[in-house]
Amino acid sequence: MFFTCLRRELRRPGRRVLAVMAGLALAVALVLTTCALRAGTQRARDEVLRSAYGTGTDLTVTRAAPGDGGAPGLEFAARVGPTTRDGDRVTVRGPAPLDASAVAKVAAQPGVARAAGGLALDVTATHGDTATHGDTATHGDTATHGGRATHGGGAQLSAYGVDVTAPGLGPLSASTITRGTAFTAAQGDEPVAVADSGYALAHHLGIGSSVTLAGTAYRIVGIATTSDSTAPAQLYLPLRRAQALAGTPGAVGTVYVTVSQEPAGAAGAAGAAATASGDPAQGVAAAIRAALPGTTVSTSADLAAGVSGPLATTYRWTSGPGGWAAFGVAAAAVVAAAVLMASAIGRRERGYATLRALGWGRARIARQAVGLAGATGLIGAAAGLALGLTATRLLTAIGPTLTARPSGSGASHTRAGDLAAVAGSPGDLDGLHAVTRGAGHTGGRALSVALTAPVSSSLIALAAVLALGAALLVAACGAWRVGRPRPVSAARASARP
């Protein structure tokens, strides 16, 4: 009879029961969607950061911009370059680079596991026969790269000098070598390059092809692909070759640091205080600041906080007031559902009084009421799960694009520009107009990231627990309500006309 009553009740639910289901569905769907959106914006932000700074980077060290908190009295070097040679103008991107000793000094700080320098360059063709893509090589038995694409005057190429002795640290670590090989430690002085896959596709470059920069042909040894639409640079060179290209031997624009998981040891008073805060990166950052005055040391948190644009706004909104508002609405919906359920049970008081008059025990009646409330809650929660999953899938399918602008000197580059160049004629790099470039240290470049709403198993588990909790709360309210009437009031309810 329990299931008969339940089935019949749920087959024709009253308005209150429907409202309870709708309230719980709203609550669960809202929490699920908000959490997924939050995870999606966090993931998008991480992608932006990874594109800009690479993986494994806990800290970046750059020369402080004037007025950016440098040591008092420190003279800042003038911006380097541009250097013009053999028809190419080479410009070091970002503020004045750090000198050759910076990497060693950073690496010597307690708590630093690894440190590597990087140098971002812009290579601009000043007339029509530079930055030339060669046709020379075949790789194995495949892919002969033909044609001789010549950049017109004014075409730009973003290049990045990477420390070949520190693989896995720096911008190139954001990419996967999908063809060829990465740099080896022995290639520090060789004229070799790794091309971003978008750039390679746009200019028909393959393994063994060459790109001529400032009169030197760089042989492509690898093709790098990023998992998203942004790439740190179009071409990666060994750091020493990049320094030579820019005419700044030993200079690095950014030092990438991985913090050791071991205790940092003595890192000065500031470092000790920062370490005491629980984040070892803060302690190491303080030590580096003390050792290298006039530098800007950014932690992952700083880098994340420095991301601006619609993506950052969305992230702040979903993590802050928007998220709390959604949770608040969800909590209110659950409470309202519980109150409505109590009301719905209250409206069945006469029916329950009749059952008592028929000899049904209190426990059996309570079981019936709790069963109804619990089933209502479960149906509402299940509907909420389905609704939330549908919403997140829809959001992921639509994939609205958000732009973000990371701070600092990290390089990045949208592949859309490279791919657009495919449509252009050989020798014409107009497609690269879509490549977005930052002008300086603080003005990062805008990156486009598709927003997703990933639903992990842990999120589903969380939503299920919430759904179950809400259903139990509703059932408890039902139990409380049905437990309230004394036999006499039940009888009165039964006797009421």
């Binding site: 019949r8 008059a357 000899g359 049904w360 209190r362 039964s494 006797a495």
Partner: protein, 238 residues
């Protein structure tokens, strides 16, 4: 048999009590019939609740076949109601989500009757009540008179010792009221009830004067006090 001895029922806080019943003593023999009348607030419903074990007297005892209902715990009292007492409330009070047959079945659930037997007995009781074709109708699809007949079938299906009817014809038209009263009357004749040999005691609150005139025992309740009229035998007293 029912025996009420010096029963008083008070409501409300100690400093502001209202007496629903005041020192009522009466008895109804097994298989007998008692009709209760009186003005609103006279204590009719209170009397019925005490007889049905839905409430406990403030003073005095209510005995059913020698068992003091007031002395039983809630669970035992529920079992007594399930097995021995059939209620016919005013306006039926059927469970709106259940069909007519399921409403009747509900009376057999606390007795532990198996589902198949419940269905059979409920269908038989409804056929007896003239509703054999309406087994699958929900209350909203039934007329008020049909709903009341379902209530009678629900009260009778478990073959209780006692039928308590609280204004069972309230709100019904004359013809419908007559049919419901005839059904209740029929329930007390061995040759007409669902189970042969079964003759329950009937206590009925009604405003129907014709029924009151025919009743062998008439109890008129005013301000909680009972005036008893006996037309046969001498088994009731006030």
């Amino acid at each position: 048999m029912y025996r009420l001895t010096a029963v008083t029922k008070r409501y409300g806080p100690a400093d502001d009590t209202v007496e629903g019943l005041s020192d009522v003593t009466l008895s109804v023999p097994r298989g007998g019939q008692l009709v209760v009348q009186g003005p609103p607030g006279g204590g009719k419903s209170t009397l019925l609740r005490l007889l049905g074990g839905l409430d406990r007297p403030t003073e005095g005892t209510v005995e059913l076949d020698g068992t003091d209902l007031a002395a039983l715990d809630d669970g035992t009292l529920a079992a007594v109601r399930a097995e021995h007492i059939g209620f016919v409330p005013r306006r039926a009070h059927l469970l709106p989500a259940l069909t007519a047959r399921q409403n009747v079945e509900a009376a057999l659930v606390p007795l532990g009757v198996r589902r198949g037997e419940r269905r059979t007995r409920a269908a038989r009781a409804l056929e007896w009540a003239g509703l054999g074709a309406r087994l699958r109708c929900v209350p909203a699809e039934l007329t008020p008179a049909e709903r009341q007949r379902v209530a009678v079938a629900r009260a009778v299906v478990k073959r209780p010792k006692v039928l308590l009817a609280d204004e069972p014809t309230g709100g019904l038209g004359r013809q419908d009221a007559a049919e419901v009263l005839a059904l209740l009357e029929a329930a007390r004749h061995a040759d007409a009830v669902p189970e042969p040999g079964y003759v329950p005691t009937l206590v009925m609150v009604t405003h129907d004067s014709a029924t009151a005139r025919r009743a062998p025992r008439l109890a008129v309740l005013r301000r909680g006090r009972v005036e008893l009229t006996e037309r046969e035998g001498g088994d009731a007293s006030s």
